[in-house]
Homo-oligomer: 216 residues x 2
């Protein structure tokens, strides 16, 4: 049997998401497109689709999002990891983070926040309410639209998110996901042929003259 050691009251949940929020304020001094990295984000509701992000009230992005009532959540892949870290330690009050990282703002027609053009996926979110919790304010937001990079779709229209090489965050470190999943929702009750089709076939070694597994 395991034994345990108490380490105190801490926010030790892991792995958690790491995403870049993109936003733009409406008041003088806040109108420059900005990127902020947050690890304190989560899905909170399915109908209507809602997510939450927690931001310290003193952050530049907190004012920007409060002014516009909107932001994009940009998912992070391995090539974006270093820029993600940088956008988590510098403030948009002091620097232009798009210029500093060489990344690009993407305009979303009719939406008051920019997206990150280099993200594999971005979610356009509208603030529903803000709940002060102490060190952080919890923003509950509705997801209005989700955009996925074209390259993640096959010509038949099927979407292959496992190719996106997403990055997670755990206890102060950024971890890419393993290249193949351990299982899928419901796999503990799936028939052997379904398990094989979902968990073995797509990752089999390429045959001579055949196609490789999923690109990653």
């Amino acid at each position: 049997m395991n034994t345990f050691r108490a380490i105190g009251a801490t926010t030790f949940l892991a792995p958690i998401p790491v995403v870049m929020l993109s936003c733009r304020g409406t008041e003088p001094g806040f109108e420059r497109d900005n990127l902020i990295t947050v690890a304190w984000a989560g899905v909170v509701n399915s109908d209507p689709p809602m997510i939450s992000v927690s931001i310290r009230p003193e952050r530049h992005s907190h004012a920007q999002i409060s002014q516009s009532g909107a932001f994009c959540v940009n998912l992070i892949d391995k090539p974006l990891c270093r820029a993600t870290d940088l956008c988590g330690v510098k403030s948009g009050r002091d620097i232009d983070k798009f210029a500093e990282t060489g990344l690009h703002a993407q305009t979303v027609e009719g939406f008051p926040a920019p997206a990150l053009a280099e993200a594999p996926v971005f979610l356009c979110c509208r603030v529903d309410r803000v709940i002060p919790l102490g060190s952080h304010d919890l923003f509950l937001a509705r997801v209005e639209q989700v955009y996925v990079r074209d390259a993640l779709f096959d010509p038949d229209g099927s979407l292959h998110m496992a190719r996106a090489n997403l990055v997670s965050y755990a206890h102060g470190e950024y971890f890419p996901l393993a290249p193949r999943p351990e299982g899928f929702f419901g796999y503990s009750l799936a028939r052997p042929d379904v398990l094989h089709r979902r968990l073995v076939e797509p990752y089999a070694k390429p045959r001579r003259g055949g196609l490789a597994g999923p690109r990653r």
Copy 2:
């Protein structure tokens, strides 16, 4: 430049946590120790340390946690992945999930919810408030104490969470984290010697007669 395809309003945030909550109700019919799998969890505040979990009101665990005002968040490693999936598709109203999975409830002195003895880490959480959002109720909870498996500590007392082999959830699939991190918080501004010490040395190939890198 990337082009994007709109896929509608969905909860497409990823990677997200996947954890098992352990709980026990106080009213007749709800008193059996239970496990429920949730992917809709997140850190929401650091001072005081708080996390959120979203649960559908019709779930057996929703009633149990509402009655006791407490639950444990059990982090998930690779060996727990199949049981985690099973506890996400079956209801504690119908079956004893500890018995069904062969897992064990761990009593926490003075705390009204059991923990999962096989978890690498568990967080004892006390419900602060519940916010109905539609399909789900958002439970905001204070973390009272965190327990970490003894085996994750070195004899010198240092904690090595990367050995825990944690599992993340992305778009319907369970993904272990890659065996080594891409970076650590602040690495984009770290000196070369710090980068080497944190990201290269611990993962170097074992030398003849020497020690291997971190156990995983």
